[in-house]
């Protein structure tokens, strides 16, 4: 993207001054009424930098009430905009990026040496002089967690209705429908009204759209990785839970299709440089379930192979899949009770969790690692269309 950063006159010290009575207007134009799309082409997280430059001026003139008031209004403004747009991924991602950037700025320019190691001498000149904002950093960190949770909820809400059909029902491998279990062909229990089926490409397209928005808005790469780890966990849990409850999808052909789908998702992660997120590892139970559907299930050696392979599935889950397993045709045998007993005997030492289904609402704790910016405050240009002409550069 084109980044609009231009060098200002040399006497601009990277501070912005405003009259106290203009604070409400500042919050309105920069936070509550701002549309993220209007900022395309500017430096990512511009609102955060503008707010920091305002805080810095209030700090410079030693006005603690002004700092308190601006930070409180900013935080309340962000909360208000998030409440109003609680189903809007782009808006939520935009304010997550900006809240984290403001938090990073309050660290980078705190004067605390631990946060200044990557600062240029010029950036060190832009540190706060009078106030320690540690407590406000905690508030911004708590707010970031809330925004992150809202972002995940929105993304999961969009993806969840697509998962079962895309992962378990849709057949993208040519000729596989001919080897579906007899009697279950073309079954589509989740599609009662109209055509609610999705292919995997639709899921991938949606994730690409999420990723592009977050990346373009300058959301910290470490946070983007955590978003996809969380979303992949949810895909894993929803798919596996359905598999554990539906006889019609416990077949060799679904195992084959599932493994192919997972490999497509892995490839997408690699293509977007997200493979270090731990997302694939969260899919391990599903990967093993797909393999379990494809393995032979007859001899004691087969039982041995299943037990050594399925380490991320509980005994209860393995047994359930074996019980539900549906032969492709009259030539393939059902899994025998004796074979299942052999498996149970081999796995009895394991201290497995008791519940059959995965918690699809489980959330990994999020971390916001410090990510200082190389931008210098005096290089930031405020576009006229933001209507912030009442801010004076100092």
């Amino acid at each position: 993207r084109q980044v609009t950063v231009q060098r200002k006159e040399k006497d601009f010290q990277g501070m912005l001054e405003y009259h106290k009575e203009d604070e409400a207007l500042l919050i309105r134009n920069l936070v509550t009424e701002l549309k993220p799309q209007t900022l395309a082409g500017t430096v990512p997280c511009l609102p955060a930098y503008v707010l920091y430059m305002c805080i810095r001026h209030a700090d410079y003139v030693n006005d603690d009430l002004k700092v308190h008031s601006l930070l409180t209004s900013t935080i309340n403004g962000i909360k208000k905009v998030l409440k109003k747009h609680n189903e809007d991924f782009e808006m939520t991602s935009f304010w997550l990026s900006n809240t984290c950037r403001l938090l990073h700025c309050l660290k980078q320019y705190s004067g605390d040496e631990g946060f200044m190691t990557q600062n240029t001498p010029k950036q060190n000149e832009h540190c706060l002089k009078n106030f320690d904002l540690t407590e406000y950093r905690q508030v911004l960190s708590d707010l970031s967690i809330q925004i992150y949770q809202q972002l995940i909820k929105i993304a999961e809400g969009v993806l969840q209705p697509m998962i079962v059909s895309a992962m378990l029902e849709n057949e993208s491998i040519q000729g596989l429908s001919g080897v579906k279990p007899t009697g279950y062909r073309k079954r589509s229990s989740s599609m009662v009204d109209g055509d609610n089926s999705y292919c995997l490409e639709a899921v991938i397209r949606q994730m690409t759209s999420f990723h592009t928005v977050m990346r373009d808005q300058g959301l910290d790469p470490e946070i983007i990785l955590q978003v996809f780890k969380q979303l992949f966990y949810m895909i894993n849990a929803v798919t596996l839970n359905n598999l554990l409850l539906r006889k019609d999808v416990c077949s060799w052909s679904t195992g084959m299709q599932l493994r192919y789908n997972i490999s497509q998702l892995e490839e997408w992660l690699r293509g977007r440089n997200l493979h270090q997120s731990g997302a694939v590892q969260t899919m391990e139970p599903l990967i093993q379930a797909a393999q379990l559907l494809q393995l032979k299930k007859k001899t004691p050696e087969d039982a041995e192979a299943i037990c050594s392979l399925c380490t991320s599935l509980s005994t209860q889950q393995i047994v359930k899949i074996l019980n539900l397993y549906t032969p492709l045709n009259e030539f393939e045998e059902r899994v025998t009770v004796a074979f299942i007993r052999t498996i149970q005997a081999q796995l009895q030492e394991r201290n497995d969790p008791q519940q059959l289904l995965l918690d699809s609402k489980h959330m990994f704790p999020v971390l916001f690692p410090f990510n200082p910016s190389s931008l210098t405050m005096d290089s930031i240009h405020i576009p006229a269309y933001l209507n912030l002409e009442f801010l004076s550069e100092v």
């Binding site: 409180t72 004067g111 106030f131 407590e135």
Partner: protein
């Protein structure tokens, strides 16, 4: 060391929940 800045004053901040409470009561008070 003449370059060492003077200590910064800690600005006490309410928690996020307290901020929300204050904000709600302000909204209720206003007509």
């Amino acid at each position: 060391n003449t370059l060492r800045p003077r200590p910064r004053v800690l600005l006490k901040a309410p928690t996020l929940a307290e901020m929300e409470e204050m904000n709600t009561s302000e909204e209720e008070e206003s007509p």
